[in-house]
Symmetry: C3
Subunit: 200 residues, 3 copies
């Protein structure tokens, strides 16, 4: 039950994040729908293509409807309302990241048993892939490739699923931890310095 709620909050906030990027780069309502749908479904789509699962699994009517409603609302609302909502979007976006990454890991586990490598890959693609395609479609450098925190959190999610966490309480816990870590990373400007990086 609580899992479904998280799933829908995740889907809604990913759809919204796509729509916001489209508005920022001055796309028309077509761009809002295209980037919203891409962000919501792109990650899962690539994941399924890559690990060889049927793509048709993704087309759940309730989910598609939720995404389309969210995007239509954003298209129809006046700009000031949207700007207001946008400031909270980082919080919802973190829920999206967690719920998508967990779903990715779980669907990989279902089909490939306990291969941690595939689970991490699936988790990453689902959690981060949609936003990456969104940024590419907006002719931007993908945010997820510039920052570290997204990837680290998806790996964390994959490991938890690999360890066998599966009841709603545990999953909710992971989501909360992911939110806390992401918000902290942004607030305290955590950066990972590696020998290969220019420090300038």
């Amino acid at each position: 039950m609580s899992w479904l709620v998280l799933h829908f909050i995740g889907i809604i906030s990913y759809a919204a994040s796509g729509a916001f990027v489209a508005l920022e780069v001055e796309y028309s309502f077509v761009g809002v729908y295209a980037l919203g749908l891409t962000t919501s479904f792109g990650g899962a789509l690539f994941r399924n293509l890559i690990i060889g699962l049927p793509v048709s699994d993704l087309w759940d009517h309730a989910t598609i409807l939720t995404v389309l409603l969210t995007l239509s609302l954003i298209v129809l609302l006046p700009l000031t309302w949207i700007n207001h909502w946008k400031q909270r979007s980082l919080f919802f976006d973190s829920i999206g990241l967690a719920s998508f990454a967990l779903q990715g890991a779980m669907s990989a586990k279902e089909y490939f048993a306990d291969d941690l490598g595939i689970m991490i890959l699936a988790s990453m693609f689902t959690g981060v892939g949609g936003g990456m395609i969104r940024d590419i479609m907006a002719a931007r450098k993908p945010l997820a490739l510039k920052e570290e925190i997204h990837a680290i959190l998806t790996i964390l999610c994959a490991i938890c699923i690999w360890l066998g966490w599966s009841d709603p309480l545990q999953l909710t816990m992971i989501v909360l931890i992911v939110i806390a870590l992401r918000m902290s990373a942004i607030h305290y400007k955590w950066r990972l310095y590696l020998p290969s990086k220019k420090r300038g």
Copy 2:
């Protein structure tokens, strides 16, 4: 019969539009072929991947040959000839948009009976997807995301197919209407203003 003619005019003009973009951004002949093939097949490819149809259906020898001949002609013709042809390209491009969108909707109808949602999605992907990938490969913001008219016309096509239009006369009618609407939209600079858009 007349349908096949439209199909080939559509394919040729989409291939050409890819080639023209490649020449504009100063790609080599490789870019001309890559963007030409992408524009011609990219939309249908993604559509099939997304709605779960076999991709091998796309590789029709006559179609591939037509695309390759068109692109080779463009590569070999002198630049002035190409510029001349280019000015009419918007007209052919509209035929392409209509014929691709109709094909997308029809192939979705064949496999998924009467689901209007899937038909619109398939119609959009086929009609607009190729051009979108073309623009991304040229490191541009996709035109189809900035304008509204493309998407509206593909939705129109999907609805006609959903309503059961299928004989060549009806399909030709749709193509003519799409061309008329698109040319008007460009000529009269139709724009759709939405509350979420900055009005500049």
Copy 3:
């Protein structure tokens, strides 16, 4: 035997070329892994999607591990070491191009017997596709679309496979010829001028 060696040199140098591009555009370690994996597997992935082969064939544990080790090494090594290695990278990259293009053509031959068209397409996608997606993910114009030499060499590889060359000695020969041609093309600045190109 010698074929396997070439395969691994190819995979390593393609992974490295992705990592180098990521470092150039100042991506985090996430970008290094993402672009490295994309360059190594992206071409083969798209090839399989396009010619309709199962994608799961690609996930060979030894290959994945090699790629991940290469990328981890690059992430952990200090910047000066990387810059040193980079100057030789063109040489390794040519090995990658040849070994990828040959593999592409061979896997197409296996499934589609002797269709030269499909073999060229598969060879091109495998040889050049990964680098193209890498450049798109770095918000750059793909190098392979600006230059001609990549595509010409992949076609050469496809033709050799089509002619039935298959024993390790012959394949090694092709690789050596590809390296020689590519290095010459770069050194002597070979360009192909076509009527459609601006000469300015």
